[in-house]
């Protein structure tokens, strides 16, 4: 394929990935890598380099809209970013030492989890026991509710922090935002309200990805000719997707997306196992 055919094709695939990622809340990065490797035979290291770059673009591009709504908590974000960026450094170092077959296998497993979690709806907000650490680091906050500002307290800060380190490691290892895991750490473990969790997670994704981007760059994973249509495509797709969020039949879409991601997961696992 010549560049004049390849570049628009990659742009199109990335735009679809970005659109679906925004509509389902999973992020475009998690689908773009399997699409590039499975459909176009791109080496997984080039694919995760390009995907990581697109993750920074969508996170930063969407942050503005979220901040305006007043849900994200900048202190929780910064506090947990220490964990995610350290994890991302570890992940990026591991990525340069891990055989591509193993990378595909892990990617497949992460996709399986994404398929499963996207087929479920949003969980209920449950309050838990307040953690003294949350008080000390001023993590408790409030968000605009139906009847004025609603306060919330944060629980199990240490467990949440540890899980965030894991999310960062996966992000650096696979070039994804690992937003799903970040939301689990905040929403399920730390009992932060779902909306605050998702918007704060989106805010953190860009910083987490930037931590591994430097290492990817120095190892030659970020190939400009491939990263350019991926970054632009995912960005355009996710911006359109974010606008369409209201009114779209998200439930049907979730199921279609979950099925597609599930198929990709199995393909990634098979192709990974073949290389071992």
């Amino acid at each position: 394929m010549t560049n004049l055919e390849f570049t628009p094709l990659v742009f199109l695939i990335s735009a679809i990935a970005g659109l679906l990622g925004a509509l389902t809340g999973l992020g475009g990065g998690v689908v773009v890598t399997p699409a590039l490797t499975l459909l176009l035979g791109v080496d997984i290291r080039y694919a995760i380099g390009a995907s990581l770059v697109s993750v920074i673009a969508t996170s930063s591009g969407a942050a503005a809209a979220y901040v305006r709504e007043g849900y994200s908590n900048i202190r929780i974000g910064m506090f947990l970013e220490i964990a995610t960026t350290l994890g991302a450094l570890l992940g990026a170092f591991l990525a340069t030492r891990t055989p591509t077959g193993i990378l595909s296998l892990i990617f497949g497993l992460v996709l399986l989890h994404a398929a499963w979690s996207s087929s479920r709806g949003r969980p209920e907000d449950v309050a838990g026991k307040p953690d003294p650490l949350a008080e000390r680091y001023k993590l408790n906050g409030s968000f605009p509710g139906d009847h004025g500002p609603q306060r919330y307290t944060v629980t199990r800060v240490k467990s949440g922090w540890a899980l965030m380190f894991g999310a960062g490691t996966l992000s650096g290892l696979l070039g994804i935002g690992s937003g799903a895991l970040k939301v689990i750490a905040m929403d399920q473990v730390m009992r932060i309200p779902f909306k605050v969790s998702t918007t704060t997670s989106n805010f953190m994704i860009g910083v987490t990805a930037a931590a591994s981007a430097g290492i990817y760059l120095s190892r030659g994973y970020i190939e400009p000719a491939l990263a350019m249509p991926v970054m632009l495509g995912v960005l355009v797709g996710s911006l359109v997707g974010a606008r369409q969020l209201v009114g779209a039949r998200v439930k049907v879409l979730r199921w279609i997306f979950a099925a597609a991601v599930g198929v990709m997961a199995i393909e990634m696992i098979i192709s990974g196992a073949r290389k071992l």
């Binding site: 673009a57 930063s60 930037a210 994973y221």
Partner: protein
């Protein structure tokens, strides 16, 4: 009266992020047009991993290659701007926490900033 609060900080941060993404997307796009015009007929093959050219792997290399004669260098400059965007956001947050006289968060933010700069500068 405190003019610095988290709300105002978040508003400025969001503007910073948007500006960074738009600027980098613009640079990447112009590099992409340049690339398609000049190298459109060449074969695209990323099946085997060789790693991108050494000159596109460091800040100094990118700064010296990003000119109209090197389309991929222009794209890489745009991507570098993109990587710098969240880092700028963290640096800005640190300054804002300092203005809020929140010493704990100045320290926490400084740690994040050091990790980010380590990846970009030292890890080479």
């Amino acid at each position: 009266m405190s003019t610095w609060n988290d709300e105002r900080l978040e508003k400025i941060v969001s503007g910073l992020l948007i500006a960074g993404v738009l600027l980098s997307a613009l640079v990447v796009f112009s590099g992409a047009i340049c690339f398609c015009v000049r190298h459109g007929g060449e074969l695209a093959d990323y099946r085997a991993f060789h790693g991108t050219s050494e000159k596109y792997r460091s800040i100094s290399g990118i700064m010296s290659t990003a000119r109209p004669s090197d389309c991929r260098g222009i794209v890489q400059l745009g991507l570098l701007l993109l990587i710098l965007t969240p880092i700028a956001r963290v640096a800005f947050s640190m300054a804002a926490f300092a203005l809020e006289r929140d010493r704990t968060y100045v320290v926490l933010t400084a740690i994040v900033l050091v990790i980010l700069l380590y990846s970009l500068v030292v890890a080479h």
